[in-house]
Amino acid sequence: MADTAILETPSAALSRRRTMTLNMGPQHPSTHGVLRIVLDLDGEVILKAVADIGFLHTGIEKQCETKTWQQVVPLTDRVDYLSNLANNLAYVLAVERLLQIEIPPRAQYLRVMLTEISRIASHLVWLGTHALDIGAMSMFMYCFREREEILKILEMFSGQRMMTSYLRVGGVALDAPRGWEKVVGRFLDDFPGKIDMYENLLTGNPIWTLRTKGVGYMPLEDLLDWGVTGPMLRAAGLKWDIRKDEPYSGYDKFSFDVPTRTESDVFARYMVRMAELRESLKIARQALDGMPGGAFQADAPQITLPAREKMKTQMEALIYHFKIVTEGFAVPAGEAYACVESPRGELGYYVVSDGGTKPCRVHMRTPSFGNLQILGPMLENTLIADSIAALGSMDFVLGDTDR
């Protein structure tokens, strides 16, 4: 990296070779966190862009190895702090695959519903910041107003607004709270109108289309080759969604479409995500309407905590409770990879167990890490202003990238 050039004054850099090295980030309004990009500029044209990540590296994978299987769940929240339920889900799916346990339908539906609602929240953050980057400042406030509603729902279910840690190996942490149908239903009723409003403000806006159409184009082959996943791939025309192709958590019971576009530019990514908002609503609505009754945790006493009532009244339950809380549960040796469709793409957890009560290795195949690799090729020969639009359209989360 051209670290030495960064220390130079612009005049010196200019007179030396006519290009200017601009150090964008780690503190920059549009790098969405602590991403640093070293840009070689000729005027306003970017000749070369090198991403420098790792400013938010907190060693979560290493921490996972020191926690019991259940204690890892709150850590996964911190990876992608905008769609933490997807992270919870991928992790518990991997562990459940190792354990080979059956999850009751109510837990499945709760998982699906909340994951989809949190996908909406994540897309809202993306939409607000992306629009703000391009200059539509009011969108940010509107999106955060709606996100607030979602956070309230999440708080209602889990007691936490952002770091919900709501999922457990073997089900969910708590049953749905009283009156949840009304709150979730009201949100699902209101939100379509809000999406219409966003689209009114942006989709047909000539300045918005001027700024987004044809910007940040990448051909599908390059996207695949660089390991890009999620809405970016779908905006390039590949109809691939893990929820459809490798259904998990009962997604095969829901009917929804996988929106695609073919232009593979910023506008296509915007349109795909806007359509995904509506699809997520559809799924959440189906989950709300068809929510089955029954248990919210698997019938596996060694793994799931016993009900409070049972724990206070039955000796075995108390013993299980004590064992699970103090030393955790053992997971049979082996390895498993479970992936889910997070708002940003393929989120996979590769979990290795040596048969103990702590994971031997947890690798997080986070979508932002894979997606961000394309940054260099994508920004080449674009303008600074376009680079902002292209960055926004990638929808990365630095916590997700650096872990």
Binding site: W226, E335, G348, G370
Partner: protein, 161 residues
């Protein structure tokens, strides 16, 4: 040695035809196919798999099985969207001077994943264009995800500064 079930899988047969002897071991466990590949031939196998409709390299990572030898298991998660099929490749790399061929020339998406493994495990990738640290600072000592890397007692004491 390969079980009947693994030998019967399509990928295994295709690999046996294209790169005979590259598959050392394999298992089909909990619905996931894992093939152990001769570490020297990983790039070759990947090149074949890419031509065999495995468009994506989902992830590259590593497992440290310290104190066993060979110490590092390189993991490659391959994914074929066209066939809707996944396969995990595994290569054993010794702990003395861990080194393996880079698959960056085959899948450019391996770029950062290999740098990450180099950064956190210290496995060196031959033919990688930019084998530098990615997550840790450039002047970091040690490779944090190794099992013998201390969890406690960091070399810096922040409290005294």
């Amino acid at each position: 040695m390969l079980s009947e079930q693994v030998q019967g899988m399509r990928v295994t047969q295709a690999l046996a035809g294209a790169a005979a002897g590259a598959v050392v071991d394999g298992k089909h466990d909990r619905g996931e196919l894992t093939l152990e590949i001769d570490a020297a031939r990983i790039a070759e196998v990947c090149r074949f798999l890419k031509s065999d409709k495995y468009e994506r390299l989902a992830a590259v990572t590593c497992v440290d099985v310290y104190p066993m030898e060979p110490r590092f298991e390189m993991i490659y998660h391959m994914h074929s969207i066209a066939r809707n099929e996944r396969v995990r490749l595994k290569c054993k790399v010794g702990g003395e001077r861990p080194e393996i061929e880079s698959v960056f020339p085959v899948y450019r998406g391996a770029d950062w994943y290999e740098r990450e493994v180099f950064d956190l495990f210290g496995v060196f990738f031959r033919n990688h264009p930019n084998m530098t640290r990615i997550l840790m600072p450039d002047d970091w000592e040690g490779h944090p995800l190794r099992k013998d890397y201390p969890v406690h007692g960091h070399k810096y004491s922040y409290s005294r500064e």
